[in-house]
Structure formats: C-alpha cells, structure tokens
Amino acid sequence: MSSFGLVPLKRLLEILKQCAPGHVWNATDHYYVVKFNGKTYPSLAKKDQIQGGQVRKMARHLGILECVIAHLGK
C-alpha cells in the first residue's frame, strides 16, 4: 500500500481493538487522537478513509506496527 492509499476508518477502529487493547480514542476540533503505550498520536485525519501513511506512522508511533501490518496486509 502506498502512503496515499486509503484505510476505512471502521477497519482501523477494528484493528486498534486487536492491536492496542485499552487504547484511548478522542476527537478534537481538527483530528482524531489515539493514546496507547504511554504515547499520543494527535493528528489522524477526521475522515471516513484515512491515508495509509498516516496509519503506518500512527502504528509505529504507538509501537504496534507489526500487528497493524498483519491485519492490513502490505
């Protein structure tokens, strides 16, 4: 998947349940915010489809990249 490919928000939320159990999900005025592992990813686009590059960076930032890749595929 290229960075510009899209991941449905609903699919991402399902993956986070599997890969980041107990994570905290919030919506701010501009972004979705995900907290897990003591870290915060504050800049997920508030859209129904999220760019693959944002999902990859969020997963890396939160330390769950391998799990997210296993669920999303390449």
Binding site: M1, S2, S3, F4, G5, T28, D29, H30, Y31, V33, K39, T40, Y41, P42, S43, Q51, G52, G53, Q54, V55, R56, K57, M58, R60, H61, G63, L65, I69, L72, G73, K74
Partner: protein
Amino acid sequence: MNQINQSTAWPLLFSHHGTILGKGFLADIEVKGRVLATLEADGVWIDGVHPGGIALGAQTLNATHLELRNTLARIFIDFAMQTSGFDEFKARVETFFHETDPDTLHEWDAAVEAVRAGRVVGPDGIPRCEASTPCYVKVTRKLVESVTPSDNTIVQQESLDELYAVYADAA
C-alpha cells in the same frame, strides 16, 4: 506498507513560528524540527521525526511544506482547546515535540548517510543546513502589550517558516 525506499528518502529540517491564542493567554511557539520526505508515485510523503506524531502528503514538496505548517497550527490549536492554561499548554506542546519512535529516527539517520555517501541528492531549490543542527521547541508566554502586527500568522510564516535539506558533507 512498512517498507520505505531509502533511495528516495530526503532527510529534511524545518523551522516554524506561530502565535496561538489559548484560554486566557497568548503563546509564541518556535520550532526547529526534522522530517523524512519520501518521493512516491502520487507525490511527496512526510513522516515526522521531531515531532514524531505527524504524517502527511501532497503532490509537491512545496505543497507538503504548506500542509506541514497547517498541521502544526491545527495541532497546537487543539492543545489550546484541551488545556486549562499556559503551563499545561506548554507542557503538552513540549511532550508532542519530543515524542518519536526508534524506527523513524533510524530511517532519518540512514537517509542522512545516503545523502553524505552521494547515493541520494537532496531536493533543489531549498536551503541547506547541517544534519546535526539542534532541534528544539520554545513555547513562550506573550503579553498582549507586546503584540505587534508582525505577530500575525501569515507574516510569521513568510519570514521564518522554512524547509532545509541537509548538506552532503558533514560539518
């Protein structure tokens, strides 16, 4: 999805300056940060290094830089909305700036080595600086009495916001 082609990755630095209106305060924010830019078929993708919690893309490097500025401003405004005063806001901005991940740090270092080894040539048309240039964020409380027209965001960005490629030769 997890592979980044290092041969097309540019290690970049950026400066950003802005004023944020918070709950009962004005905050001046000055940033010198690092990002890794990757050329892709659809455009230029940027992964944040410092700060690590950002990723964005656009069709050109200039458009990506503009989106970087806007992303930072929106994040800082969100922080201002979520915090109760200047001290909490300052702490939130500093935590955001310093949080990163080891994989992205490693990729940035590898991209610097690729530039120094001549395997990658940085983008044309932007200034150069040393890869070792210190990164920092400064959040300063600003008094209303000290505000001037040059504090308006568009003026600040025109004068101070910049994107830098790293020199091929180490200092």
